[in-house]
């Protein structure tokens, strides 16, 4: 109880409240603009948060992360264009409802489902906290090394059909992390005698290049295809209430999002896929899915919005980010010398609890903002794409240059921006590079610190938690290989029949 009261005291500070409002309202607006998305906004704002206290900076970033998906459903439903990539599934049922004259109902369903998913995941986090606080200290160097390795394996296998590309990009990220002066023996690694490479490749510069600069280049080289701002007539309230009459689908979607969010490297797409497939399979009207099914919309939005709070679990408990946005947030912790991991639950439980409260409040604020401001918010949909690109490029400069006032950083970010354009054009994943950089650093450090206690290969897994993680790695790999074999067999059977 004392911890909870301490956390409330933290949250009630004006800086935290201001960050909460700015993050949640800003996140909704950013999410509603197709082509921006939370990753771009967080990448740009990241260096600005380094000057803030960790709780203020993280609240701002979490606000954007958690509420962008609320706003992202607006263009998905009204103009068939996902506001964020994660809202793509929302177009399947949202846009047909708009065409059928049910736009306010679809928006209400989406807002209500996002709120349900977000709150469900926060409650799950709070319930899980005592368990996490008990389990987290069982993670020593070996366990964290193996958990990071599991994250790497999951990142690769989660990109089905692109596992090889994801693996190559993950390894590229791992390589980038090794560039520079090596801290134990003070030797140079791949610096090519260039002074600026001695400090290594900065994660934030790479993040800004791959997310913000590349998005600016993509928009600038594209076309302006905006139409007039759509109009909606009627209240969205009815749709919000309807979500609570579809509790089975909402709970299943939220559960899927929470579980998938906790597992590093999996994320929103898999959770939505599972949630939508379950909702369709268990529906009394499966024929409506893809043509304007309220259940489909609820399944999609609950699943994606329950991921952000759940993704904080591996970050806070183990210091292992599960996806790119939490990887960016990890740097906020590091800048302030607050090291997420087992020790955080022991020594800063009030901080952790304050973050949970902020996560819950931001869902409330985002819903309240949308209920009163959806109609004026539709104006952002008419901002021309290339003009947005110009704004993002201008903002990217602030993010990159303010880090170290280095023009070289800007050149590196521009190079990664070009790489990001190519990856986006080819539909190849960007996230493995970021996770490779972050998880690679964790793995190398934990590998070294584990060595004094390692007598044989078996020593790596001779403790219960390490053994469980090792078994999980084996199971994930076995399932992936089995899936590949099944796909190959299906294809070869098909070609024989053909």
């Amino acid at each position: 109880m004392d911890t909870f009261l301490d956390a409330l005291a933290i949250v009630s500070r004006w800086e935290v409240i201001a960050a909460l409002i700015a993050g949640s309202v800003g996140g909704v607006i950013i999410g509603a603009i197709p082509g921006v998305g939370p990753a771009v906004a967080i990448a740009i704002l990241l260096p600005a948060t380094f000057g803030m206290e960790p709780i203020v900076g993280l609240t701002l970033l979490l606000g954007i992360y958690g509420s962008a998906l609320f706003g992202g459903s607006i263009p998905s439903i009204l103009i068939n264009t996902p506001g964020t990539p994660v809202n793509a599934l929302t177009t399947y049922d949202g846009f047909p409802m708009t065409k059928a004259g049910e736009a306010p109902r679809a928006l209400g369903l989406s807002f209500g489902a996002s709120f349900f998913g977000g709150i469900f995941a926060v409650i799950a986090l709070i319930v899980l906290s005592p368990v996490l606080a008990r389990i987290a200290p069982m993670f020593g160097s070996r366990e964290i090394f193996l958990a990071a390795l599991l994250g790497c394996v999951l990142v690769v296998v989660a990109h089905r059909g692109q596992s090889l590309a994801a693996g190559a990009l993950l390894m590229f990220g791992l390589f980038l992390n090794t560039v520079g002066m090596e801290a134990n023996n003070y030797t140079q690694r791949y610096t090519f005698d260039l002074a600026f490479l001695t400090q290594g490749v900065n994660l934030i510069v790479v993040v800004l290049g791959l997310f913000a600069v590349s998005q600016a280049f993509t928009l600038l080289t594209g076309r302006d295809d905006q139409e007039a701002a759509p109009e909606i007539h009627g209240s969205v309230w009815k749709g919000v209430r309807e979500v609570f009459r579809n509790k089975r689908v909402a709970v299943a979607g939220s559960l899927s999002g929470t579980i998938m969010g906790i597992i590093p490297g999996v994320g929103e797409f898999t959770s939505q896929f599972l949630s939508y497939t379950y909702a369709r399979a268990s529906s009394k009207a499966p024929q409506l899915f893809g043509k304007g099914s309220p259940e489909g919309l609820i399944a999609s939005e609950t699943a994606n919005n329950s991921v952000p709070p759940a993704a904080m679990v591996p970050l806070l408990a183990l210091g292992i980010p599960g996806e790119a946005l939490t990887a960016m947030m990890l740097s906020v912790f590091y800048v302030h010398n607050v090291i997420p991991g087992p020790g955080l639950f022991r020594s800063h439980m009030d901080f952790v609890m304050a973050l949970y409260i902020c996560l819950g409040l931001l869902n409330l604020l985002a819903l309240a903002f949308l209920l009163v401001a959806t109609k004026p918010l539709l104006k952002v949909l008419v901002i021309p794409n290339r003009y947005l690109g110009m704004i993002i490029l201008t903002l990217s400069f602030v993010g990159i240059y303010s880090l170290r006032n280095s023009a070289v950083d800007c050149v590196i970010a521009a190079a990664f921006g070009l790489l990001g354009v190519v990856l986006k054009r080819l539909n190849l994943p960007i996230v493995p590079i970021i996770l490779g950089m972050v998880l690679g650093g964790i793995m190398e450090t934990k590998f070294r610190t584990s060595l004094p206690r390692i007598r044989s290969l078996y020593s790596w897994i001779d403790r219960p938690v390490a053994m469980v993680i090792f078994c999980l790695i084996c199971i994930v790999l076995a399932l992936h290989l089995w899936g590949l074999w099944r796909d190959w067999k299906g294809k070869s059977d098909g070609s024989v029949q053909h």
Partner: protein
């Protein structure tokens, strides 16, 4: 409307583009180059256990890039032989088009320490809007957007962007104001 359920495969299996092979070849060649440079760009300390060698993790990364890269290259070649999926030259043209905006960005970066953050941002935003073909109200809005960005980040959030060399030409009081807020 047909009764077929929506195809979710786009979410899990994004569409293939023939130009993937260009990227696969390039990334494989980069991996080969990095592998060839491994012995000269890392140090192997005599007498130290292999697990503590500074070159171990770059080696793991480069070997991983080589293996996955070779697999991806082979998979791309097979996919391209089986299906179509877009014009490679047109796609390469689009990649090159982005270079122009990279040049714009770098000119903006180089100009800022000389002429200052506010003037550089206003000029960059306005000229880029002209280049993009915007006229009238949208063009007039560009310097205001630039001013807003500078005010929010430098004056409001106090991000660290040094003043321009040109600010030194102004009287001390004004110079200090410009350096601090614009």
């Amino acid at each position: 409307m047909s009764d077929t359920p929506p195809d979710l495969s786009d979410l899990t299996h994004p569409p293939h583009h023939r130009a993937e092979v260009v990227f696969a070849v390039a990334s494989f060649l980069v991996a080969v180059l990095l592998a060839a440079l491994w012995s000269s760009q890392t140090t192997w300390i005599d007498g130290q256990d292999w697990s503590r060698q500074p070159g171990l993790w770059p080696l793991i990364a480069v070997v991983g890039m080589l293996l996955f890269g070779a697999g991806e290259l082979a998979a791309c070649l097979i996919r391209n032989a089986r299906n179509g999926g877009g014009d490679v030259r047109a796609e390469l043209g689009l990649w090159l088009k982005a270079l122009e905006y990279a040049a714009w960005f770098l000119i903006y970066v180089l100009a800022t320490p000389w002429i200052g953050y506010l003037p550089a941002t206003v000029i960059f935003a306005t000229l880029l809007a002209v280049r993009l073909g915007y006229r009238g109200r949208v063009l007039l809005l560009s310097p205001l957007v630039a001013l807003g960005i500078v005010l929010v980040f430098k004056a409001g959030l106090s991000v660290r962007i040094p003043g321009g060399a040109v600010y030194d030409l102004f009287p001390q009081g004004l110079r200090n104001f410009l350096v601090l807020y614009l």
